[in-house]
Symmetry: D2
Subunit: 384 residues, 4 copies
């Protein structure tokens, strides 16, 4: 099976998420990185390309240049990963989609609902894949949770609690030389949401992915604890979901002692589920009035949805990179199917532009509710 | 040291919390149960008295009778435990306070702010102790958490998340013969709050006890998930606390898979704390940018406040009954001090009528906010 | 129901285990402490008696005096708790048994097989109860584990691993004023075993209690890590058990970071069990090829054997003192049955003199094997 | 940087460990798989090569053929991964070493001390790398533990307990079509050790890697629990280590409920360490008389040795594949250094032929001790 030719925008030396995307693309041997516009600084772009063993003539100074050149090569890239700051996603994605190149975009898809909606339209028009890397959906036990919810093993869902807690912004590290912090706390580059956009959208997507429920209304309080910070570094949100379910979402980047604590709990009439990224290979299932069961990745109790995306036997932990790689592998399957003008197999799934649009809507609604002193705000959702 | 003579109202055969109060009173050998009005059913009252080895002439049919008779005996009770349904607390407490007998009342103190405020006044007037058994404050590691917060070890507190989750009301067991469920879900006996009153008040008090912060405003959503239930069985509440801190409180009796999961997390500028009742002998302390530390009950790292209320060496778990007994032991110390017309030692502490009043105010505010479609509601607090 | 009149030998001011025995005796309201020979120092004995509210004429200077005086009173003690250093257990137990008084003896029962066997005979002759407080058998989830093993839920047992780890003897605290350490590391008072006798016997008994299997042979290595210490502070032992099962026992008092980590794992052909004192209210059951199940104290999944000794609902932790109190409560039931010349109900169980004898045999065999450079040594066991 | 050209022997369709080696080789982009003798069945070998995108002329029927052909190509492989059953390792490794090709061999290195020692000599002679994939040494927190032990943070080490528990051989799955089980339980292919060779050697190596201590004597009991099985499926071993330390090793493939539970505890005079594969991103450090500290992968508390092999920020778990990839990355660094006739940087480390030889010696000693009814047996070790 030949590898899919991949390009990358952003992700030069010292960038964090670019290297994660590259490992994810490589892990299952479905992609080959062959081109890049790795930095807006031309010298850095060039050096970064050399680091990665790219051919000199496929190391570009700008994404526009790269889109044009690659589209005109017979061996040009078939897909591109976009790993730049939030405010540039829309324009970059557009440039590649319009040239017929599939796009794999880091989240959030865009910094406004308008931008995001435009991309959804464009992806449909061009019949190209526009994926958004809500990477936590790649964990096998998250897939398992989704399958159990969908199969009704919890009965009707009543309550969902999701939280994503970090502490790296407890101090104003954006003033102390952290580039990662600098753009994330700058409204011009990050958009209207701080923590809510950076990690809250992950939590929001995870909740919807697992439960299959839409959030219809929310009541948010966003706070900037670090003095002088212009975007929220903490968001607490009450949620009303479809079918009468209720929930809470908490995203924080000042929760001291938390590194990347993503956790979700779902309680239905017949049972509950708990999953934590810090213990990612286990899913706790609590059927009503019976002992809780520990479902492990790779075990017989894990169903088809988890087994599909499992690489190694139970007891040997798979982690974040494997989950991220699963998103890439699912995209690869979809690209291959698209190449044959066929739909991907039914169980193949990746987060797409609609999911990206819904994430942007969520951020805007949360900001609107919080600015309105916590009033309940309605939320539009893409059709499932 | 002679034991304090104790009476009990409620707590007859098959009652749950009465036997807990008796073990708690007995554990540290500070009280001797000598009288009781143990049931509103005279035959049951009598049998229950025999079960407990009470003298026949001190087994009463009504609390009024007991208050009168005991007050007139030279060896009459010095304190009384009130373990009846919520709606009767105020009248019973009043009857004993007015006769000069100290009162130890199960929570909530009363079913309305007015009732509770009246009791606060009465306790002051009569110079008698009116304690409310917010028993979770008796855990050594909760004392430790409080001491650390007060000493500034977390820096300025930014966030508090407290939750108390159960699942025993997932179905309408109140229709299936559960007496415990029946009165708790009946507004006439429980008051305006369901889960919020039964367990939310515990969570609320715990949060204030540890952080020392008042809640100034709240925004609540209370839900009755079980069809036809008249009181809330789930409450999710956003909180604004003194000094700009923010928080969340979640109380649920339909969170499938949770037995009595009481947990609190506090995040300050310099560190965080996590405590869970299910792992009660440990406190996780996460100083900013340093490894989390596991502080264990009885160890050298546990300070004076925890050591005072620790009975056995580290590694041997103390549990719920010991914590409850600590509340009783603290009350005993206070009664003994009062007998000598002295204040109790500075570090002696028990939840008193003001705490009870604040709990009732909280329930009423939460109900008001939820009824108002989640508007933010202000909260009055007793002076610390 | 009238309380059983109890005396105590040892357990004066500053003693640790005496106060544990007193709380345990009091917790379920089955015993009343009325007499004591609390210290070998007469002044301390007197003061300790006053602390506990004993009548002056029942605070004795010596146990001999107490045995004689109490046996001659019509309201004399019916049972006595012996909480002195190991070397004195046998003589004290003998003195009371011979006067018809039931004996509750801290472990180990004696410092030699000969002494212990003599006590077994004496208890039989006098028809008196001689209990040894292997207190960990009182945990409800330990009872549950035993019931499951006995019911064959694990299939044939293949492997048992039990460990009891502490670190308080990592340094030679016996030279730094610790009385507790001083007698435990002194062969004259502790007997031939150090860690193996002090905590290894608990682990040994727990393993046999749960599995119902006898140890037939052992191969031990005992070590004294702290320089100059005369008794072992660490013991690692390979075990051969009845029916071809195999096992390991590890007792250590120098395992840095462990407070009182008692843990047991049992693996059978059809499933496994794990229990840890630090998480005492849960039992992990792993049926072969199925998800592990978390059985909680007080839940529906916990069977009759655990339910019998459970005081409070699931989720509210019971701890060490409750487990110890259960041993006392079981002894009380047995004493009451004996008073009516009846056998106790079938499911009532407490560790008796035979168990104590087996514990002493185990220590001696381990010492013998270790001295023989790890040769396999056979072990005699009392008939079940 | 150009990738190292890699070949593979074994690892065809359906093989487990081959695909793990390939992911590990690919993850950090240091190797490119270009040739293979993937199966002893020629048809399967060919198909497997196609699956992996190998050129048809570099998909070989036998390893001998491959060694000859690749050695004669100017673009021939520089290294080969050997992932066949144990009994074939030695001959295959020899064939490639003799042609100047570096060898990366799955463990155990060989099935006899003699074979292994011969390979050690050959690797020295040929100046080629002969690595053995004791992959658990690649976990960052294992590196951290090693660094802390070496730096004396635990003081003098007294005790080590290591265990590797599985349950997949609880039944005789080797009779039910499991190929993996079939060769592992067959002395002709696996060698003299069953569980002790398959997973005990991992545990043994891990213990030595972390503590830096040699095992000087051991006393083993090996058991075959499954009826009719010819090799051990459970091994319990007492250990004496250098400097007076003592230890235990437990390897089991019948420990019901355990998937791949590899765990190690080290206790020194000044502190203890605990690491478990199931919680691989955390290391518990317990300094004597101070609270235990949770050192997390990627955090500031993790030192240089862990940081070197860390890919992603704390809180995002890295797992088994990343650890395996680290072993490959370290080998790549060493091969690159060798290409320039330089030593690798001082902190680069991979398990080499001496480690492989010591593993074989350990298995043979354990078998000898167990056959000798648990006598203590001395152990020779390679110079560090």
């Amino acid at each position: 099976m030949t590898r899919i030719r991949l390009g990358m925008v952003g992700g030069g030396r010292d960038a964090f998420i670019g290297s994660v995307h590259r490992i994810a693309a490589r892990l299952d041997d479905q992609f080959e990185l062959v081109a890049g516009a790795l930095s807006s600084d031309p010298a850095r772009a060039k050096e970064s390309g050399q680091d990665l063993g790219l051919a000199a003539d496929r190391t570009y100074g700008t994404y526009q240049e790269m889109a044009a050149a690659e589209a005109s090569r017979s061996d040009g890239i078939q897909a591109v990963s976009v790993v730049t700051p939030n405010d540039t996603h829309a324009a970059i994605a557009k440039a590649f989609l319009e040239r017929g190149i599939h796009v794999i975009c880091d989240k959030p898809l865009a910094v406004s609902t308008q931008q995001a909606a435009e991309l959804v339209r464009l992806a449909r028009q061009t019949h190209r894949i526009l994926a958004v890397t809500y990477n936590y959906t790649g964990y096998p036990m998250v897939r398992q949770a989704r399958e159990m919810c969908r199969a009704g093993e919890l009965g009707k869902v009543r309550l969902v609690h999701v939280e994503y807690l970090q502490d790296w912004l407890a101090n104003r590290v954006e003033l102390l030389g952290s580039k990662q912090a600098a753009w994330r706390t700058d409204p011009a580059r990050a958009g209207v949401g701080g923590a809510i956009g950076d990690i809250g959208t992950h939590a929001y997507h995870l909740m919807r992915f697992i439960t299959g429920l839409d959030v219809t209304e929310l009541c948010a309080e966003l706070t900037s604890f670090a003095e002088g910070r212009r975007l929220d570094d903490d968001a607490r949100i009450l949620l009303r979901l479809g079918s009468g379910a209720r929930g809470m979402l908490w995203a924080s980047q000042v929760a001291t002692g938390n590194e990347n604590e993503l956790a979700i709990r779902v309680y239905g009439e017949q049972g509950g589920l708990t999953w934590r990224q810090s213990d990612a290979n286990r899913l706790l299932h609590s059927p009503l009035d019976k002992p809780s069961r520990v479902i492990t990745r790779g075990s017989r109790a894990a169903g088809e949805a988890a087994a599909r995306v499992t690489r190694i036997p139970p007891g040997h932990p798979e982690g974040y990179l494997e989950a991220f790689a699963t998103v890439y592998a699912e995209i690869a399957r979809s690209i291959r199917a698209a190449q044959h003008a066929q739909p991907a197999a039914e169980n193949v799934w990746y987060p797409d532009a609609s999911d990206g649009l819904d994430g942007v809507r969520f951020v805007e609604a949360a900001v609107r509710s919080s600015a309105g002193h916590g009033k309940w705000v309605s939320l539009e959702n893409s059709a499932a």
